[in-house]
Symmetry: C2
Amino acid sequence: MAALRGKLIVGQSGGPTAVINATLAGVIQEALRHEAVTGIYGMRHGVEGLLREELIDLGAESTETIELLKHTPSAALGSCRHKLSDADYERLLQMLRAHGIRYFLYIGGNDSADTAHRLAVLAARKNYELRVIGLPKTVDNDLVEMDHCPGHPSVARWLAVSVRDAGLDTEAIGVVDTVKVIETMGRDTGWITAATALARTHEDAAPHLIYLPERPLRREQFLGDVERVFRRLGHVVVAVCEGQKDERGAYLSASTKSVDVDRFGHPQLGGVAAVLCDLITTELKIKARFDKPGTIQRVSGALRSSVDVEEAVQVGQAGVKHAVAGKSGQMVTIVREGDHPYRCRTDLVSLERVANKVRPFPGEFIAPSGHDVTQAYLDYIRPLIGGELPPYARLRNVAVPKTTSVPGA
Amino acid sequence: MAALRGKLIVGQSGGPTAVINATLAGVIQEALRHEAVTGIYGMRHGVEGLLREELIDLGAESTETIELLKHTPSAALGSCRHKLSDADYERLLQMLRAHGIRYFLYIGGNDSADTAHRLAVLAARKNYELRVIGLPKTVDNDLVEMDHCPGHPSVARWLAVSVRDAGLDTEAIGVVDTVKVIETMGRDTGWITAATALARTHEDAAPHLIYLPERPLRREQFLGDVERVFRRLGHVVVAVCEGQKDERGAYLSASTKSVDVDRFGHPQLGGVAAVLCDLITTELKIKARFDKPGTIQRVSGALRSSVDVEEAVQVGQAGVKHAVAGKSGQMVTIVREGDHPYRCRTDLVSLERVANKVRPFPGEFIAPSGHDVTQAYLDYIRPLIGGELPPYARLRNVAVPKTTSVPGA
């Protein structure tokens, strides 16, 4: 069978990450190796750019720029979150035809998988030979059929390092700033919040309480949890997910302004930490403040996982290889082959199986208390973050014997 | 003159930083070189620990631990924010006498300088020969008589890198998340917020608007500023200080709960970004979200400035040298000697001149618009952050010619 000759187009969709450009670099570098690929285009802002015919020629970029993409956070092509109409899909296909594009690679999450799937179905129905491949990307780590998603290991490393430091801060100044609540991303799943557990380097280290949206946060129980840690250590660090719900299944905090609901109908989350700080201050009369690193955790290039960068490149390369080999309507997956040493390979799954589905944080990764993770989770996540955290000094704190000459001492 | 023989005690006070332990390491390593210093004690949680006689023997720590302190963020001895009574000062002096302590080194900001000053005055009045030296530390960079304060260059580097990444995130996904407000620390001065300007690597890069508490934020003008950038670029990144005030001189957001006012009467600040996001969403009908990295920015060890680490060690060493040489009632300062290449040396200033004073962000560093910094500021801060930011790829974005075969294209 002769290879399908034509141009390749690649786009980025959804929330940018620290490594989505590494996948883009993998796509471009691999595409350059195949004669069947007669040109490499990029969509500006995903399918929105393709609809508006805002395409760029990635063949015009230098090899240095493409290599540097591996170390450049955020989405260099621009990203989008666009819900397409039936007419939009028709138009996408017209654009692809008009430009002689036969390879469509789309880097994104479950919304993007749905978009790619529908396009593949339409192309088949219209007898336009198009190879559609989805490339996984989401910090949320919530795509089904994957061991993990590119982007997630880097946010896990960012939180491991940053929460460790923020925890040392509270340990040092807890006499003044007693409770710290750290609000993480993650939407409706606890994957990101759970990663804060990697910050712990000893038993009493932060975070002391980890709330995951897979379990409701009960107000009275929460206050009891916080008070118990406070009595034991004199300070408390709490990690909580932006999408945490209460016992009635309602978000602890969610904006209801219409402008804050995105085009897929997801409400804009945020504010959980502020709500919990207010609760602690009001009910327990102890001071609480919060850190909400927000998009910095998702996109920061400062603490990328080396494993994540490497796999993100591989995912891009694999997508092009599979497309040229004739696959379509598939998403590249990551399959773990072993932990000692850690080994992963890529595979494929149909886009339809991934589209619009969410993988919750598994029950076996949640501690019975409901506010911690299990060893099984730590065994899962540790190999992904690219090595141990840097060592810190910990004083032995050898007490000086007390004098007897100062009254009351 | 024979050197004063006796023990040395060191404490850490105020908000922990990325390099306050580097100063501690400098103190210990230098103290070990002087025969006059007969022991090295640490106060647990600053003067609170001395009052309670919670002292540790730093001589019992290994050389490896002490060296590793240079790379360990937060305050290893524990910190405090304790307002002392007259009786407390008497008790501190009794403790020092009882333990044969002749050298008192206190790492902190302007509150701590006041504490050290009062102790020095009391010791002199009571004819107890005590050498009191303050060692500067504050991320806020607001101590008078200094070129800059250890701790600040590291938060500046952290924000430069993190805001650059968060800005790329908004640039990529601005079609959805249009305005991002990044709330920085800094209390009543703009030093920390100003450092976000280092994130810019090209003219239209984030942050687009920088509000400093030395200038009031006027609601109508602010909305106009945001809308103007939005119309030009389609997205906006705003940096704002936690202590930003409005035209009436009122904090844009400050907690008034009594538990949230610290022992020096400073209100617990925070919430400015949430207030501004609400204003933007309500008035301009465009979506706004905020990042509030909070204590992570202040203490993170991930993006320490190498210049900062080195100077923090030097400040500790200088303090011990001066104390052993007979100085007292002084704070170590950093004096800039040149920029090409950057050179600084340490000096001394009386603690009284530093105590309780605040150095505002200077007018010549604030752009006429009131929402940006000047080149003079950038020339000031650049040498301090320990080298350029890592290079990122930026696509040339060579447009693909539009086809004429798609209707409406």
